[in-house]
Symmetry: C2
DNA sequence: TAGATTGTTAATCGATTAACAATC
DNA sequence: TAGATTGTTAATCGATTAACAATC
C-alpha cells in the first residue's frame, strides 16, 4: 500500500482544531448543515485562508461555492484527533487539581476518559475521589498492561513529578498530559504534553501591567 | 521624561519567562549566585541566544564572561511580570475547577491572590469553598470598586461564561483569566487571557494517534 | 452564466537560530 | 593575555496572509 505523504500538521494548526470542532457541534445542534471557512473564521477572529489550510491539513475537503458539509467536517476533525472513541486514561495525583480534572465531564468528548486514580502519597492512597478509589503507584504498571491504557494525566506536586512520570513511562503509558511545573524527559517513545498555567498567567500579568491604571490618579 | 521605546516583548518570549523564573528560584535555593544563558538554555532545552534575547526583552542585562547575577535577574523578571506584589483577584465560578484554582497556593508567587469567590448559580451562592463564602454576581461591581480589584478568574460553564464575563467587565475588572471554552469580546480596555485545555489535549491526542501502537499486532 | 467558495501558489511577516564583534 | 560570555546584526525557518486560478 502506498501511503500518501502529507506534511505533518503544525502545532498551531492542531491547537485550532478543537475550536472549529466546538463551533461545528454548536451549529449542528442548531440544525445547520453547511459551513464555509468564512463562517468559521468570522466566529473565531481568524483569517479564512488559515481556516481552509487547517481543515485541509486535517484531511477535510469541501466543494467550491457550497462549502463544507457540516457533519462530514465534524467527523473528519474528530477522527483526525482520535476523539471519536475516547481512550481510557489514568490519573496520577488525587489533589485538588486532579479532582477538578476528574470532575470535568467534557474530556469524554475530547478523546479521554479517566478510568482509575493513583497517588504517590501514601496518605492519599485508600481514600476515594469522585467515587473512584485512590490506588498506590505500585499498581500502575500491572493495571496499565491489563487494561491496555496508553494515556496518563500527571497532576502531582512539582517535587513528586519526575518520579511519578518515570513510573508512568515504565508502566507503558505512551502519552502523558503533564500538569506539574517540571519538564519530563522520558525518551522518544513517550509523548509529553505540558500544561503550565504560569505561562498563561505571565501573558495576562504583563498585559495588565502595561494597561493604564485608573487608580494612578490621586 | 523621555521614555526609551523598546519593542513590545513577543508572546512566546513572555511565556518563557516563568520557566526561567522557576529555575532561578530553584538555583537560588541551592545557593548559586551567578547564571549564564547556557545554563538556562541547557536546563530547558532552548537555544542560548533565545534565552539571551528573552532576558534582554525583560530588561535584564549581564556581564560578558561572568553571566547574570542570579538575584538581580530573578528580581528583574519577577518585576517585569508584576509578580513581586501579587494583585488581588476575584474568582467567578465555584465549581470543581474554580475550587482547584482556589486551592492552588502557587498563584500567590505568580502575581495573583484570590480574595473573593462569586457564582452566577443561585444554588451555589451562600455556600462556601476553601473557607471563602460564595457571593452572588450582583455584589461583584460594588466589591471590585471598594477593594480596587483589577483581575478576575472566570471558571463557569460555557453557557454562563458570556454573561459572567460581561458582568466582570462592567464591574471594572481589567484582566480576565478565562477558563471557559468561549471567546470573550469585551473591548480593548479588558485584557482576556484564554486557557483552553482542549487545545493542549488535541496536541497530545494527535501525537499519540501517530505513534506506533504496540497493540496493533495480534 | 455569474458569483461564491475552495484549493494552491506566492508574498509577507515574525520568531528562531547563526555569526560575530564587544567586553570583562 | 586568553577565553568565555554578552549583546547585536544577519540569515534562516516556518507560519500567516494575500493573490488567483479552478470549480460547482
Amino acid at each position: 500500500m502506498i501511503a500518501a505523504m502529507h506534511h505533518p500538521i503544525s502545532v498551531p494548526s492542531l491547537r485550532r482544531l478543537p475550536l472549529y470542532l466546538r463551533l461545528l457541534e454548536a451549529w449542528r445542534a442548531e440544525g445547520r448543515e453547511q459551513v464555509s471557512c468564512t463562517h468559521l473564521a468570522d466566529a473565531l477572529g481568524f483569517d479564512p485562508t488559515q481556516v481552509r489550510k487547517d481543515l485541509a491539513a486535517a484531511g477535510a475537503s469541501g466543494r467550491p461555492k457550497v462549502g463544507y458539509e457540516l457533519k462530514t467536517l465534524r467527523d473528519c476533525l474528530a477522527g483526525f484527533l482520535g476523539w471519536d472513541n475516547p481512550g481510557e486514561a489514568f490519573l496520577v495525583g488525587a489533589g485538588p487539581l486532579g479532582q477538578a480534572l476528574l470532575a470535568y465531564e467534557g474530556f469524554a468528548a475530547r478523546g479521554m476518559s479517566i478510568v482509575a486514580v493513583f497517588d504517590p502519597d501514601p496518605g492519599r492512597v485508600g481514600g476515594s475521589v469522585g467515587g473512584k478509589p485512590v490506588l498506590p503507584l505500585a499498581k500502575l504498571a500491572n493495571l496499565a498492561a491489563r487494561m491496555h491504557v496508553r494515556l496518563g494525566v500527571l497532576a502531582v506536586p512539582a517535587d513528586a513529578a519526575a518520579e511519578a512520570g518515570r513510573a508512568m513511562a515504565e508502566a507503558g503509558l505512551q502519552g502523558i498530559w503533564n500538569f506539574a511545573p517540571v519538564r519530563l524527559d522520558l525518551g522518544p517513545l513517550v509523548v509529553v504534553e505540558h500544561v503550565d498555567l504560569a505561562q498563561s498567567l505571565a501573558v495576562l500579568s504583563h498585559r495588565l501591567a502595561e494597561l493604564p491604571q485608573p487608580s494612578e490618579i490621586t
